[in-house]
């Protein structure tokens, strides 16, 4: 399509856009005073926005159709990057520098930035956990926030009643959540696809409802406040210091979880999960016990969420059931899919986007969630496989490199 044609098409789209949005954008009724406000200027506004977006949209679609996709590896910088990185020692030093920089973040930025990055780190953990079930196992779980909640409440409740310390609660949250994952896992073993999704959603909601109503244990919808921040061998920090401290703990947990996930992924067990995702019947015929695999997946991902939950409770010092709704589950799912299902790097990127984007969109004030919703669509349409597509590991075959 030539530019003129695209312009023409965009003009038509703009017109359609104006027509479509007419009642909502132009007319505003005041049902009390029975008055109507006609905001004709909206036509111009909507028209020009749609025109612009449509132009860019079609242009990009055309480019993709022609097979022009930006491939980092093939770009000039990319090639230089790859030749540099593959030099011995370079990768190692790059990684170390990165780690140092990341560790330094709380000491060089504002507490606000540290805070939101800590949130992002917690969501990276959640994303990695959910990625195990959804990305590797191919089981859609829409109730993941419940596991997260179980972890958070484990810490809050144990602390409130028995004064249990953060460091003790951290593993306990994981264990409690794993137990919960097991209980949820049992009845859903036979279910597939969207039926599984809806049952997990159901479990998620049930958990929230119980939390809301079980006043004596959970304090109901009032939530639990004044949850202590973690201490360092008995030493506690001020508000600023503890923000940094939690950041570092979260970072450590992220690294640990990445390590564990990575080890699992590339193991015999991890492979069997991927196989289950690809074709469950064939998988069973290869001697893999599907029920066992599914249960393991549920338990491990739950445990990870539980740990994230403890961190979450410690960071916010206050939790209530509102933080563990379907909406949260959906956002975690967005992280996984947006980043690139099955890919650890993808999930990290996804979490950074989903958590940081709305924060940095604050500049757009009330348009922020509107833009966020729109960007979700854009990212999916133009990068349907997620930002980082998962690639399967290439195995080196020892002593037989001649064939390669």
């Amino acid at each position: 399509m030539s530019n003129i044609e695209i312009l023409k098409k965009s003009a038509i789209n703009a017109l359609l856009g104006v027509l479509l949005t007419f009642p909502i954008t132009v007319i505003k009724v005041n049902t009390i005073d029975r008055e109507i406000t006609w905001r004709w200027y909206m036509i111009l506004l909507v028209g020009s926005v749609v025109f612009l977006i449509s132009f860019l949209w079609i242009k990009q679609l055309e480019r993709q159709k022609a097979g022009v996709t930006f491939k980092f590896k093939e770009s000039k910088i990319g090639q230089r990057y790859h030749t540099t990185i593959s030099k011995p020692g370079v990768l190692k030093s790059v990684l170390i520098t990165a780690l140092v920089l990341i560790t330094a973040i709380p000491f060089i930025t504002s507490p606000y930035t540290t805070g939101i990055i800590t949130s992002a780190l917690i969501y990276i953990i959640l994303g990695l956990g959910l990625n195990i079930v959804v990305g590797l196992g191919g089981l859609l779980n829409l109730g993941y926030a419940a596991y997260f909640g179980v972890g958070a409440y484990t810490y809050a409740i144990l602390n409130m009643n028995f004064g249990v310390d953060f460091w003790v609660a951290l593993p306990l949250g994981g264990i409690a959540s794993a137990l919960f994952g097991f209980i949820v896992g049992l009845p859903v073993l036979r279910l597939k696809g969207d039926y599984l999704a809806i049952v997990t959603l159901g479990f998620g909601e049930m958990t929230r409802i119980v939390t809301e109503n079980f006043d004596s244990l959970t304090n109901g919808s009032s939530g639990i406040a004044k949850i202590p921040k973690p201490s360092f061998f008995g030493h506690t920090f001020g508000s600023f210091g503890s923000t940094r401290y939690i950041y570092l703990i979260a970072l450590a947990v992220v690294i640990l979880v990445i390590f564990i996930v990575w080890r699992m992924e590339n193991s015999r067990v991890g492979r069997s999960w991927v196989a289950m995702r690809e074709d469950d019947i064939a998988c069973e015929s290869m001697g893999i016990d599907l029920h066992k695999s599914k249960l393991t997946l549920f338990i491990i991902s739950a445990a990870i969420a539980g740990i994230a939950g403890v961190l979450f409770a410690a960071k916010n010092t206050f939790i209530n059931p509102q933080s563990f709704t379907v909406w949260e589950s959906i956002m975690i799912l967005c992280i996984v899919v947006l980043g690139g299902k099955g890919s650890v790097r993808g999930v990290i990127l996804g979490a950074l986007i989903i958590i940081l984007l709305p924060e940095y969109l604050r500049a757009f004030q009330q348009y922020r969630m509107l833009i966020f919703g729109f960007l979700l669509v854009v990212m999916m349409v133009f990068r349907p496989g997620g930002i980082i597509q998962n690639v399967r590991k290439v195995y080196k075959i020892e002593g037989d490199l001649t064939n390669e």
Binding site: N30, S222, S239, N316, Q366
Partner: protein
Amino acid sequence: ATNAPIKIGVPGAQSGDLASYGIPTVRAVEIYTEMWNAKGGVLGRKIEFFAEDESCKPELATNVAAKLVGMKVDGIIGHICSGTTKAAMSIYRDANIVAITPSATSNDLTDGEYPNFFRAIAKDSFQAVTAANLVKDLGLKKIAVLHDKGDYGKSFATAVKELVEAEGVTEVVLFDGITVGAVDYSAIINKVSGSNADAVVYGGYHPEASKLVTQMKKSNNDIPFISDDGVKDNTFIQVAREYAEGVYATGPEDTSSNKMAQEAIKLHEEKYGEKPGAFFLNACAAIESLLKAIEIAGTTDYEAVRKALQTNRFDTTLGNIGFSETGDPIGVEFKPFQVKDGVYVEVK
């Protein structure tokens, strides 16, 4: 540095299902900053405000609070929900910033933990007393107490129940939570009529209340309906229309004769083309008090402003109010109201 603008943070729910409670506050602050700036600001300094959305989520509230602290705001109007307020308060406290909420009503907030906390609304247990008295005065024998399972609604309902039961005259025949956002409430209404209650006491907000009232009246289940200040809101009457007639609600003293309130409402209508939403007047009172306190203190210094707030009384859209040691409002008396001919009038 003396003519740098005074910065006010306005954190609250501005998107998501609770946006309708948060947006009116932003608008109130906007109207008041314009009004004050037109008069030359405070202490000769312009006022700037920063609305920050936390969708009523505690985890976002802590981030927003850190952000506002980082921006070195001089005061906070918010948060909107009790939950987010609880999550954010310690951050403001550690940073020495006063916060006045227009709407967070949870009792725990004013238990002395946060010296920087104030609210331009009465706490939950406070208005329950008014409601319980109303139950007594109306001579009700059996009541059904419902709530929306939320923090606010449930504590109001529980408090009413306890007060009424302690009195021993009235029997609570039903105590149950309804589901917010459900498409139909006929089952619970049937249950109420099955319980033979003489009246319904409801703890929660106007959307559910109007649905309940409408459905009750439509099925000719016309028993008195008593609720809280979440319902004593014009939106309730606007939405429930003729069905709102006769509904009781507790609320701060009558503001229809309050000039400032009328003025603020008028400004809102001019600016946004619609009637203000929930907690608008509370928010007006909050920002007004804060600005006046700064003026009185002659500085934005934390201790001074806090002192000023605690030791003075302010003419606001809610009447002449002050703040107690713990931050609860003084002078925001709760009175029972009833809808008559489409307006709330005080029950004498």
